[in-house]
Amino acid sequence: MTVTEERPTVGFGSTLRKEDVRFVRGKGTYVDDVNLPGMLHGAMLRSPFAHARIVSIDTSAAEAHPGVKAVITGETLAGLNLAWMPTLSYDTQAVLATDKVRFQGQEVAFVIAEDHYSARDALELIEVEYEELPVVVDAKKALDADAPVIRDDKEEQSNNHIYDWEAGDKAATDEVFSSADVVVAEDILYPRTHPAPLETCGAVADMDKVTGKLTVWTTTQAPHAHRTVYALVAGLPEHKIRIISPDIGGGFGGKVGIYPGYVLAIVGSIVAGKPVKWVEDRSEHLMSTAFARDYHMRGEIAATRDGKILGLRVNTLADHGAFHSTAQPTKFPAGFFHVFTGSYDLQAAHCKVTAVYTNKAPGGVAYACSFRITEAVYLVERMVELLARELDMDPAELRMKNLLRPEQFPYTTPTGWEYDSGDYQKTLTKAMEMAGYQQLRAEQADRLRRREQGENVPLMGIGVSFFTEAVGAGPRKHMDILGLGMADGAELRVHPTGKAVLRISVQTQGQGHETTFAQIVGNELGLPTEDIEVVHGDTDQTPFGLGTYGSRSTPVSGAATAVVARKVRERARIVAAAMLEVSTDDLEWQENRWQVRGDPEKAKTIQEIALAAHSSLELPEGIEGHLDATTVYNPPNLTYPFGAYICVVDVDPDTGQVHLRRFIAVDDCGVRINPMIVEGQIHGGLADGVGMALMQVMAFDADGNHMGANFMDYLLPTAKECPSWELGETVTPSPHHPIGAKGVGESATVGSPAAIVNAVMDALKPYGVRHADMPLSPAAVWSAIQGRPLRTDLAIT
């Protein structure tokens, strides 16, 4: 046995995660672990059809089933004015269908019973008569004149059109394109995927009839936002609602919105007078909760013959499913897709997004997408790759030539975003050095020579991508969700013995907040990480804030934490001055202590000061008797992490199999608080990229049946498909963030799919294949080689 000396760790560095002590011992508490006395269990009846009119629902046999307490239908809810709920995008969504069902898996009825088994069995006894309607599966046909109108519940709706939205300067872009030497165009689909966290969604709702207080344990990334939305929608007084988000088994954006199941657990508890638990199963989760992407993009890129990129133009058809319910800042209907100019210095850009209803589940913003920067980065990185092919230039060289230069920062993009800091060439150069880029190209050429001589060696491909992320929403003046400004609070208490409790509004789903945020406090106050407790996920215990998604925890809440710790430090300075009988101006913060300038012997630690602040020491004016502080952080701008990724693949052209040989990822997310956690997040995001690029898709057949509703059909990558990641870093601090950090949670998910697809397309170059859509399954690769690429959003027939 090895005995390691345990020393308190202060500040930044790769310390082990505090939360893992409970997770590795199986002592986490997830929603499904919450069991209350007398608790009842809910189960959801879902539509087998993608589009059908409900003729009748007979619940009598289900109600008579032993153990069943109640069966709730759309009609029940209509009586409570709760059959429809507002979405986060100012549309409406059915809680339980009243008129018709609009996607396969839509919620139709809710059974409450004494146990889960009785509830589930009773679902089989509900008789629903449906009248099937024609379906809209192919987004490209949603606006056809003869397409059935999905949202006929909305008076103003006479077709399936949701919105048109534009960004950039169309005239200037058209001008650039009309005079460019080279224009390359391609149709690129980012297919519908799903974040598929291992914990599905669920809730335990407990309405206390005596106090009138509703407590909901639920899978949410944004507990405070949920509380306010419940108050606004259901008319419940907000101080009588407590949302508890316990341990969350992955969110990835899929646990931002409010699902019908949550509402029904609450209604069920009110109706039954007992706590009600509802936890969906895997198929329900994949079929009905927030999907990701589903962008049909037409990209065009213009350049000079010698490889100077001039402009970018994109037309996008966005498939939003049956309800427009994307969770994103209100003023950005296509999220941050219009950061689509990526990392390049170009003259003009324009994009247009048209969103449509289809007979599929609602959603769109999930799966670590940074409000759709995944789609934007994928688009621009594929277009740059295609341009390199057209110009017969090395794709890395083309990127190097066009990347923004360090002296251009802060840089305002053609669509109006101000990138805070970057040194892109340095990052790409580092990735190329780590990869041995020139040797790889030489190996690739050698492979081709050997193949030409008849040797049976696999094709080799090298793919590069460079991404710029935009994370950490707000500022609140530009960004809100349902009118709630995107800022976050923090509250810090220091107990007399110098132990601290930090209360924050964001909610970890596995990102390690309990460690990282303690490290930020420790770094500012000189306290060991172990001495700082981080409280989150309970609206009765934490200050208001908008929650964790869009890689915003460190940029916003991390900043709030640093700011509130600095407030505590300044209060401590006043107390220290009294203790040392000097003026505050005579003190400087040195070696984690307030020290008299020039006299290191005279100094006080935060622990000493905290005790004094609670003691009989006569405190100076302005200090009531503790060090505690609160703050709200309204970010001045987003942070813009970036990175350079290089992927190496082998492809077997006779079977279409792709073997991912190497993946080099150099990330720049500014200052790293806990490098181990950062690297863990990058590992996860890269694995996401492998999933999306090679195997994941939710396709639909002609009747609107979901073809990926379980883990046999919707594939998660395993360690077998992932190479040993080769990570590197550069550090360009954010100039406006208190500790120079940028968000990183979604970087690898955003940046990696393009590198993998570019690598496979590079391997298929000898066959003249320019583009094939994700996922590049063996069948898709082989079909592309045959010149018959698959339409991956539709069922294979």
Binding site: D121, T655, L694, M707, S777, W782, S783, I796, T797
Partner: protein
């Protein structure tokens, strides 16, 4: 949580007891061994048997041994045991090839060889492997035992010729010296069912193919076999050209169905390619050129 519909549960204490329970519960009863195919289907309520007869206590059905010129495999042998079996691997590397790519270690630790055959899933690997090596199975019922050629066992997808009260107890594989065998599979991801797969066994007479067996998975080959290709290969030189020709013949007689693993034409291509590769590797092994 996905939960199955209600069902009765019985635990058999002997083969005779299992047969008696099957007789008593009738055709809507199902035998459960490893349960790794049946139980997921029950949880999705795609299968709703009235009763499960659990045979996991019948440990005397778990063995791999050579008797005379036959390799005998008990029906309750776990995948992991077949994978690890030195005696099976020595005579038939095809089983090791196939087992290595069946599902994942958790499934292989509990899923059984007999269960795989009885599930009759068109995408199940062992059915093709046993078809290639010309195995037969022993079924026991109230009136005694009978032996069935594995190429006669399957009546269609998820359907066998076993009577509702018959239990598959043993698989017998004839051992003929001088052969080589191999299994080749394409899957979308480790642990997935195959997009397609092919197994081959080859006996050589010098540089000529004396005899060959070919099994095919997930491509709609009748009884998981390719008898036309086997016939065509017999007496031909053991060359890549012959193997490719056998692959083409095998593919011609397949009826692959398009699904999310790929279009029919792609699966047919895999039938060609994987048959060719399996024959090539089986031949190399017959020549002692490859482990």
């Amino acid at each position: 949580m996905q939960v199955p519909a209600p069902f009765a549960y019985e635990r058999a204490t002997s083969v005779e007891h299992a047969i008696e329970l099957l007789s008593r519960h009738g055709p809507e009863a199902r035998v459960v061994a490893g349960g790794h195919s049946l139980i997921p289907m029950m949880k999705l309520r795609l299968a709703q048997p009235d009763a499960l007869i659990d045979i996991n206590n019948l440990s005397d059905l778990s063995y791999i041994r050579v008797e005379g010129d036959q390799l005998l495999i008990g029906a309750l042998t776990r995948h992991a045991d077949l994978l690890d079996s030195a005696v099976a691997g020595e005579h038939f590397p095809i089983f090791r090839d196939a087992e290595q790519v069946i599902a994942d270690p958790v499934v292989r630790n509990f899923g059984t060889v007999g269960g795989s055959l009885c599930q009759a899933d068109p995408a199940e690997d062992l059915s093709a492997a046993f078809a290639a090596v010309g195995a037969s199975v022993v079924a026991r019922g109230p009136n005694g035992s009978r032996t069935i050629d594995v190429r006669q066992l399957h009546a269609g997808p998820y359907e066998t010729v076993l009577e509702p009260n018959e239990l598959l107890v043993e698989i017998r594989v004839p051992i003929r010296p001088g052969g080589g065998s191999a299994y080749e599979k394409v899957e979308r991801r480790v642990g997935d069912y195959p997009v397609a797969a092919a197994g081959a066994v080859v006996w050589l007479d010098g540089d000529t193919v004396a005899e060959a067996g070919i099994g095919l998975t997930a491509v709609g080959a009748e009884h998981f076999a390719a008898p036309e290709a086997e016939t065509a290969l017999r007496g031909r030189p053991a060359t890549d050209d012959s193997f490719a020709e056998a692959g083409r013949i095998a593919a011609q007689h397949c009826h692959p169905q398009p699904d999310q693993r790929g279009p029919a034409e792609y699966k047919r291509q895999l039938a060609v390619e994987l048959t060719t590769r399996a024959l090539r590797r089986a031949t190399a092994r017959a020549r002692g050129q490859e482990a």
